[in-house]
Symmetry: none
Subunit: 208 residues, 4 copies
DNA sequence: CATGAATGAGAGTTCATTCAT
DNA sequence: AATGAATGAACTCTCATTCAT
């Protein structure tokens, strides 16, 4: 029998958990280095130094593995970002914290982010696949929308469409991920300042 | 002897040109409807009502076909956008015109844009593929950078990093393409107003 | 595109028809010689001297190929048997003709029969697969039942259960196929006499 | 060191014997319910509630397990059938007893029989496998042949070929197993009467 | 200009089996 | 006595591409 399965076994052995993480890490590495289409089970296994079968032993299949990868990076991202946002008090500070925390996370997890972006691009391209967005992404967006809505309610932000502004913020952040994928030497500190300033100007209420 | 080839044969017969366009159009349709991974040569051929072999006769291979697709949409986009930008006089108007023209083109060519976005996502992911960006995209960015630089030189725009602002504008615009791919009923007129306003506020010099 | 497909194309090219028959023949040969489980696509292709892909080009998949095999042998069998039964006039003669024609067909098509029997055994073992029986086999049985029923109605046959007798006749005949599969030197002429005599005695009305 | 092996270790511990029977029973259950091809080691282990490895610990391999299954059912069958035949005195009665005992055993052990039939079908199909027949089946047949030969010697049976008649009897009986596998509601009492009557008429000497 | 026939490479998955613990 | 972890072989199928016609 395999160690994975439809029915979640509540407890996974230590060694299994380690292998799963190792394999997910290999998937991230291969995707970041060679691109999503090149991330075949064979290459991932090779990178992990294990047999192809072992991946199918620990995961229900390719889809399951990729799904775990997304959950993995997503979860770590949320854990890094949310606390920082929560420490800020005013909406404007929260927005800046959101942007800063996101870009810091990108800076500290370049490969993971590159992999995530590429997977996301490939997944929402798929025919019938629900991808990861409907649940995860929209939940992330809502978090951002709330910050913006709070700012408008507090009279600190201008009268823009909250959803479109949130989408813009996310697109710019995600775009930085892509930049990172292309240029490994990108000065993320500078980028953070610029992006934060951009949206500071774009959101503040100037009484116009 | 084949009619395609890396080395551009200066003249292509009328019927050949027609076939090429027909096939590119089919590729666009299939990618837009079923996603990039599902866009196999077989399905594209089927949609075009021709044999698979014919695609290989008219194009040097899959890569060539996709490349032509990108060039095709890109070229049409540039032809629609540049003239509108040129009619505007001040940098702020030119920026607004750039955004408006882009989103109008997206609105009027939803399927082409969806296909382009999906291809781009898959391509910059590819291993050794040069993609289409290095040449095309950077050229497009430079056009945008010049608008912004002119605005700063004229003292109308604030002191932001020109490259990062240009990237942000493009990412927001490209993000709209993705939104269009997901939600076919998106109100693009509203989106255009919001995006234009966003970058108007983000770029203007407020003397701060 | 492949030459097979869900939608039956009414006309198949000559060369295609030839290839299909050749591949089916190879499948029969491999199954007869090495058994059904050993009849992988690879071995069938190898026996036919073609590539594995070609089988998938001409057939929709393994299932389709095996299905064609069954239909093929079944059809040839019916064409060999029915006419001979029809020339007989009395039910007893028709029953004898049925048995004789069946065993003659088995004798003349040993390998095909062996393959058919093995496939049938493997198929009706499969979990959800309808196999080939529901349609084909029951239709064959009904043919036999009619002969027996006619004999009873005409007062020539004893009062046995028609269905069970028909099943018995078929099982004995199919058993001979299995014997043939095991012992290639079986004297089928003798077997034919014995089986015919057996069912002659078993069916005739002795007024008991 | 494993507890199984080709070389029979004279004594098997109690617990080991219990495990072996449990596993064989699970194999029977899985084959009867899901068919032979679906009866993988994994599914058998799962049904038995043990690990896959344990099966390989108690048996020399898949082949060994299946072989034990056949021997198991075969042995139980012989133990149920032979005594009943031995109580009968005349050859005709013995033949009837043989048929009746066989069908009764089938009736009382439907699942085991279904599994046995399916395994047999798959096995005599196998490439190099000796199957179980050469030894077991022929021994069973010989038992039947002796009954028939005795009947002819005693002048009670007609002058048919003893081997072919024996084969026919077995095929009809085995065919009933297949019927049982297909139709769980089969009226076996009726079938027993019909089959017994069939071979009574087919074997008796009518002085023709 | 266009096609049908054919191929080879490679993908994901399943399975019986082994081995250290 | 029993297991979890791991493997290697094999299988079916898809796809871009080639070539003779």
């Amino acid at each position: 029998m395999s160690a994975n399965g439809q029915e979640r076994q509540p407890s996974r052995s230590f060694i299994e958990e380690a292998r799963r993480e190792q394999i997910v890490a290999s998937a991230i590495a291969v995707i970041a280095e060679h691109g999503y289409p090149a991330a075949t089970m064979g290459r991932i296994a090779q990178h992990a130094g294990v047999s192809r079968s072992l991946i199918n032993y620990h995961f229900a299949g390719r889809e399951d593995l990729i799904g775990q990868l997304v959950v993995d990076v997503f979860t770590r991202g949320a854990q890094a970002i949310v606390p920082r946002v929560e420490t800020a008090s005013t909406p404007a500070e929260r927005l800046a914290a959101y942007i800063g925390a996101n870009l810091d996370f990108i800076a500290g997890n370049r490969r993971d982010i590159v992999a995530l972006v590429r997977v996301a691009a490939a997944l929402d391209t798929a025919d019938g696949l629900p991808g990861v967005d409907p649940a995860g992404a929209d939940q992330g967006l809502e978090y951002l929308r709330r910050i913006l809505r709070d700012g408008q309610d507090a009279g600190q932000f201008a009268a823009f469409d909250v959803h479109q502004m949130a989408v813009a913020v996310r697109n710019v952040i995600d775009g930085v991920s892509t930049q990172v994928a292309t240029d490994p030497n990108l000065d993320l500190a500078m980028v953070t300042r610029e992006v934060a300033a951009l949206f500071h100007r774009a959101t503040r209420d100037t009484g116009e």
